[in-house]
């Protein structure tokens, strides 16, 4: 476990008595009474079965929807932020979707370049160097000019990660990053996320705050420092891995099952 587990940093994400709704059905509340604080540089895993609201909660945390109730602050600023002067705060957070959610009319390289070009008003040539560096870092260079549809899901997910990293966020939210990956890719992701959490040289060596959703807990042993469950509309903080193993919560016991080791 990294040294980041022992750090007590100022909170970057703060939620108080928050309720979140489903993205596709704003009338359906998926989580209630969430009080949660994430310190800078912390590495969290939020686990829960399918339909527990992990993705909806993550989207809300990323600012795609407003909380139904309660308060949510990102770096001290009330969320959601859509534009204006506070947009810079929003850009300190990145979101990686489950399927990558790349824009199909752009190539992989153009997808990566888009946030950088849009927010810094750059031409494709001006963004090229940075894009190439990130393509090399993530092993996507051979697929740079390919459309997303021509690339396997494993690599599309990785392209989604690279795109979210383009603006060098301080907080990175990842929706079920290991889902559907083969063991080789899953290993790459775990290793890369560990490097990000410890402070990757490419991103200035600053430890990145990571929040990951997952269907199982066992894959994240020795990886994340903090664990929580999403169960029956409740957000249950379990603590560190030792506390997870000791937890008596029935869902925690289920999610520790060896069959879910790859999830």
């Amino acid at each position: 476990m990294s040294a980041a587990c022992d750090r007590t940093n100022e909170p970057v994400i703060e939620m108080r008595a928050l309720s979140a709704a489903a993205m596709k059905n704003p009338g359906r509340v998926v989580l209630e009474e969430v009080t949660w604080s994430v310190g800078a540089g912390e590495y969290w895993v939020l686990a829960g079965p399918q339909g527990s609201g992990k993705s909806d909660f993550l989207m809300m945390t990323a600012g795609l929807a407003a909380p139904v109730d309660g308060t949510y602050r990102l770096f001290g600023e009330p969320m959601p932020i859509f534009e204006g002067e506070r947009l810079a705060t929003r850009l300190r957070l990145g979101l990686v979707f489950d399927g990558g959610q790349l824009l199909n009319h752009l190539s992989i390289a153009q997808n990566l370049a888009l946030p950088l070009r849009y927010h810094h008003n750059l031409t494709a040539a001006e963004a090229g160097e940075r894009v190439q560096a990130l393509l090399d870092l993530t092993g996507l260079a051979p697929w740079a000019d390919a459309p997303p549809g021509a690339v396997a899901r494993n690599w599309r997910k990785r392209a989604g990660l690279a795109r979210a990293l383009m603006l060098q966020p301080e907080v990175l939210l990842l929706d079920d990053p290991l889902a559907g990956l083969d063991p080789w890719h899953a290993h790459w992701w775990r290793d890369f996320l560990r490097q990000l959490a410890a402070g990757h040289r490419f991103f200035g060596g600053r430890p990145m705050t990571l929040v990951v959703t997952a269907e199982g807990l066992r894959s994240w042993k020795g990886q994340a420092c903090h664990f929580a469950l999403l169960d029956k509309k409740r957000f249950v903080v379990l603590g560190n891995w030792t506390e997870v193993e000791r937890a008596s919560h029935p869902l925690a016991r289920e999610l520790l099952a060896p069959e879910l080791a790859g999830a």
């Binding site: 596709k24 990323a62 824009l103 849009y118």
Partner: protein, 286 residues
């Protein structure tokens, strides 16, 4: 989008009205239809205002990204359709001249050929035909592209990157379609007027080119140019707004995209014809 979210126009009330089966009772059926119509008008109006707001407020934002998209849309809704419009202009000239020459000759009013061409081609058929062809060729593609993008979660991806989907996806299409329809209408009119004379010449109409163009020039007033510009840009705006609204403003599943396309084409067609009627009144008043 409203509040920057992708679900701005998808409230439970709207969903109930649009997706619940229509009631069997005649009055209820009529009422539900009327409510749907009013909600659609409200949604389209709100979407148009949001788009105009974004167009103005973000005019200089991310120019290096949005301007190339605008150029691409101008190419798609304008330049690439030129060959088809050359054909259409020849056909339109033949159609109008072919029908009018024999009638004007019979009543001894062949000197009004230029005037007829201006009234029929410049004021009415040119802009409306252009709008309908662009709607069929590009408007439908808009709904399918945006509806698919919506169904595949690309809109949420843009929002997650703090990129306004209206700015990135809608504004270039609005600008491209407005300028595309304006330019294509001008080409169509010029082509139809020229081909009209060619067909008249082939029918042995005793009309010299100088006289024909003098008739055209005398039939055209400054108001024709102003209203032609306004009309074509408005057609482009309406088609882009209606097609983008149906593709983008409501969450779609892939199987719903075809239905959205049909709705968008029907509504854009109705809106264009209604707008054309308004311009007829303007011509009559002016």
């Amino acid at each position: 989008m409203q509040d920057g979210t992708a679900s701005a126009f998808d409230t439970p009330q709207v969903r109930l009205l649009f997706r619940a089966p229509l009631p069997p009772s005649y009055t209820n059926f009529l009422g539900r239809k009327l409510l749907r119509f009013l909600l659609t008008v409200q949604g389209l109006g709100a979407f148009a205002l949001i788009t105009l707001g974004v167009l103005v407020s973000k005019f200089s934002v991310a120019r290096q990204v949005v301007r190339p998209l605008m150029r691409r849309e101008i190419g798609r809704a304008g330049v690439r359709l030129l060959p088809m419009f050359l054909y259409l202009s020849a056909a339109l000239g033949l159609l109008v001249i072919g029908q009018t020459v024999s009638w004007l000759t019979r009543v001894g009013a062949i000197n009004f050929l230029g005037t007829v061409m201006v009234v029929v081609v410049v004021r009415e058929l040119g802009p409306l035909l252009t709008a309908l062809v662009v709607l069929a060729r590009i408007g439908t593609a808009n709904v399918v592209e945006l509806g698919t993008a919506r169904a595949m979660g690309e809109v949420e991806a843009l929002e997650a990157l703090a990129i306004d989907p209206v700015h990135y996806l809608v504004v270039p299409r609005v600008v491209g379609m407005a300028l595309g329809i304006f330019s294509l209408t001008v080409y169509l009119i010029v082509g139809a007027l020229l081909s009209g004379y060619l067909w008249a010449f082939l029918q042995d109409v005793p009309l010299l080119p100088g006289e024909y163009f003098r008739q055209l020039a005398s039939a055209l007033g400054w108001m024709d140019f102003v209203l032609l510009g306004l009309k074509t840009v408005s057609f482009g705006f309406i088609i882009a707004i209606v097609t983008c609204y149906h593709g983008l403003a409501q969450p779609l599943r892939l199987e719903e995209v075809s239905g959205a396309t049909v709705r968008a084409v029907a509504q854009a067609l109705i809106a264009c014809v209604l707008l054309d009627a308004v311009f007829i009144i303007l011509y009559l008043v002016a």
